[in-house]
């Protein structure tokens, strides 16, 4: 991993739970990762893997309640954004409540300063991400007005510029979202995200709702703008194709845990975690004919009832006795390539032992 200081975003041991009527959903468990400036990190996982929860934690937009950040640290440019004080236990814990509330308030104020300015977020569905009763132009101007001390006219002019940057003529400033097609709306969403030249954009499945040809347009635009502005992107997706297209690095999330991460070569060609492998094998191949797909058997475990050992053990083809004995730890198999699999750990340890014996 690159030197700690250079990182734009550092997430350490993030654990987030949702408290629901049915029980506690362990959405994110002990996830750590970094994003360097100007880097595109792909976050891949299936529905319910906890990708969006990670994104919302970074933005400070988790719905509380029911969400609770149990532990961890989120540092943006070295500044800590998770509260240091523990949550009060119940409404009558007055001793903890006062300072906790004060800290929450301070954090919220700080979050408001960075949201849209330093980190912006694109939500999954462009159809619903724009306010239906406001002009699209004004929705872009809004973020500029919040963060930059300029006149309304100036902000509107800048918003018009942004429209042109994403390939929409500025005459359409005074139109409503419903007058735009899906791809155009996503362009507006990109314009909002980029308007204040943030250091990091969190894009939550930005192209999932779009058709293939439109997806290609939007990805191209996103990549071009990313290069031009030097913005880092955390791209959440379930599609390895999209990752291959634009990402520099990739991390795979399974049942709220990070199972593998590395650069594209590590993930696509030298992947070691059985889940990552299984994902690739279950994809229909475009380049060559395959008679049968190799699906991963079974289902993702209920996030309310995760096992005390490797969450993937029940679905794993190569699972051994030892896999059900403990939780795997994330180890670095080669520089920048991390895997959380007990078998990989064991194999590596055996190799090292052999070396030592020699």
């Amino acid at each position: 991993m690159s030197t700690e200081k250079k990182n734009l975003l550092e997430v350490r041991n993030l654990t987030v739970h949702y408290e629901t009527d049915e029980g506690i959903v362990e959405a994110v468990n002990n996830v750590s990762f970094d994003i360097a400036p100007g880097e595109i990190l792909g976050v891949v996982g299936e529905t319910g893997a906890g990708k969006t929860t990670i994104a919302l934690s970074i933005m400070g937009l988790l719905p509380k309640p029911p969400a609770h950040v149990i532990s961890g640290s989120i540092k943006l440019d070295g500044e800590e954004f998770l509260p240091s004080l523990p949550e009060p236990e119940g409404p009558f814990d007055f001793a903890k409540k006062g300072p906790w509330k004060a800290e929450q308030k301070k954090l919220e104020l700080r979050f408001r300063e960075i949201r849209g300015k330093k980190v912006s977020m694109m939500f999954q569905d462009p159809m619903t991400a724009l306010n239906p009763v406001l002009y699209v132009g004004d929705q872009i101007a809004e973020v500029i007005k919040i963060h930059e001390n300029i006149s309304a006219a100036e902000a509107e002019k800048r918003a018009g510029d942004m429209l042109e940057v994403v390939g929409i003529p500025r005459e359409r400033y005074k139109e409503y979202p419903h007058q735009f097609s899906g791809g155009m709306k996503q362009r507006v969403v990109i314009a909002i995200a980029l308007a204040c030249h943030p250091d990091l954009i969190i894009a939550d499945e930005p192209t999932t709702a779009l058709d293939v040809t439109i997806q290609a347009q939007v990805l191209q635009l996103l990549r071009n703008l990313q290069k031009e502005y030097g913005t880092a992107i955390m791209l959440i997706t379930h599609d390895f194709g999209v990752v291959a297209e634009i990402c520099d690095r990739c991390m795979v999330i399974y049942a709220g845990e990070k199972v593998e991460s590395g650069n594209l070569e590590h993930i696509f060609d030298k992947n070691m975690h059985p889940y990552t492998r299984g994902m690739f094998e279950s994809l229909p191949n475009l380049e060559e004919d395959t008679d049968r797909l190799k699906p991963i058997k079974g289902l993702m475990p209920n996030p309310m009832d995760l096992p005390s050992y490797c969450s993937f053990a029940e679905r794993c083809d190569v699972c051994e006795e030892i896999c059900k004995s403990r939780n795997p730890e994330l180890i670095e198999v080669e520089p920048g390539h991390e895997v959380a699999c007990i078998l990989v750990t064991e194999k590596l340890a055996a190799q090292n032992n052999a070396k030592e014996v020699k």
Binding site: T15, G23, I24, N30, I70, S71, E257, S308, P328
Partner: protein
């Protein structure tokens, strides 16, 4: 990766163990479970049940008959002998209010059921057949809707004359418009679901789709609205009585009791207060229950 153990999680794992052998719950049973957990809904239901018991046991509960007059004790305030006080003829208000449950409650429910049957049939036809049938029915409903429902009820009672069945006809007729619209909307919502298409693609007949898919899925929404309609009907009944149509004095209907009492309000406010409270409590109970039902049947809104 270490596991974090919190007290809540321990509680949860116990819960999971408890539920381990519960294999399946029908959506209806799950809704019922949610309903039972809903405190306000249960409070509403309990009040309604108490009202029913009072209605059935009225002769036992009421210390006097509702016609018994005591000229030595007219317009007395609440006391141990007359906990709600007495009216201008010396009748015991508590007894009259107790007997009042025998009017508002059953009539309100009967009117709603009649309105639901008529309106439900119309709404179901409109929603299912669509096209011209829908248009004709909805135009008729538009006309009825144009006349404020309380006015329609009053006009009908004025023409039909005072009395129990006339009142029922009038209130039921006044509720048809709302019922038709509700049932139509509910069925429309269900009809747009893909599973209706799925059954059509199999070749299931229209009647079967209506009975097996549309009604069971729409029934929740219809019931919620019907419960709300009962409280509306109870308010209408008492409003009519108050104006002096429908059930009139000396019937111990709450609105009628109140109407009798209003003349003496400056000297004997209890003659207005208690019957009004009875109406309010009953209506609140139905509204509470209706809201709870909504939460239980439609968890999305919570």
């Amino acid at each position: 990766m270490s596991k974090i153990t919190t007290p809540a999680m321990v509680k949860l794992s116990k819960k999971i163990e408890k539920n381990a052998n519960v294999t399946s719950n029908t959506p209806g049973r799950e809704a019922l479970k949610r309903l039972r957990k809903n405190k306000t809904a249960m409070a509403g239901l309990i009040i309604i049940l108490i009202m029913f018991i009072v209605a059935i046991l009225a002769p036992v509960i009421a210390p006097y008959t509702y016609t018994e007059q005591d000229y030595t004790a007219t317009m007395q305030g609440p006391s141990a002998a007359h906990i709600f006080g007495t009216d201008n003829l010396g009748r015991d208000l508590f007894s009259r209010c107790v007997y009042g449950t025998r009017y508002s409650l059953p009539i309100g429910i009967i009117c709603t059921v009649i309105g639901l049957l008529c309106g439900g049939a119309l709404g179901l036809c409109a929603a299912y057949f669509g096209g011209k049938v829908d248009m004709v029915i909805m135009r008729i409903i538009d006309v009825i809707q144009a006349i404020p429902s309380i006015l329609l009820c009053i006009a009908l009672v004025a023409i039909l004359g005072n009395g129990m069945w006339q009142l029922i006809v009038a209130i039921a007729a006044g509720s048809i418009e709302g019922m038709t619209k509700n049932v139509r909307a509910a069925v429309f919502m269900v009809r747009s679901n893909e599973y209706v298409n799925s059954s059509k693609s199999i070749g299931v007949s229209d009647a079967n789709i209506m009975v097996r898919h549309l009604l069971p899925n729409a029934v929740g929404m219809i019931v919620i609205n019907a419960v709300g309609a009962v409280s509306g009907a109870i308010l209408s009944i008492s409003s009519l009585s108050y104006i002096g149509v429908g059930l009139v004095a000396p019937t111990p209907e709450w609105g009628a009791i109140l109407s009798e009492g209003k003349t003496y309000m400056s000297v004997a406010p209890h003659m207005v207060l208690f019957p009004g409270l009875m109406i309010a409590i009953t209506v609140v109970a139905f509204n509470l229950f209706g809201n709870g039902l909504r939460d239980a049947l439609d968890p999305r809104l919570k």
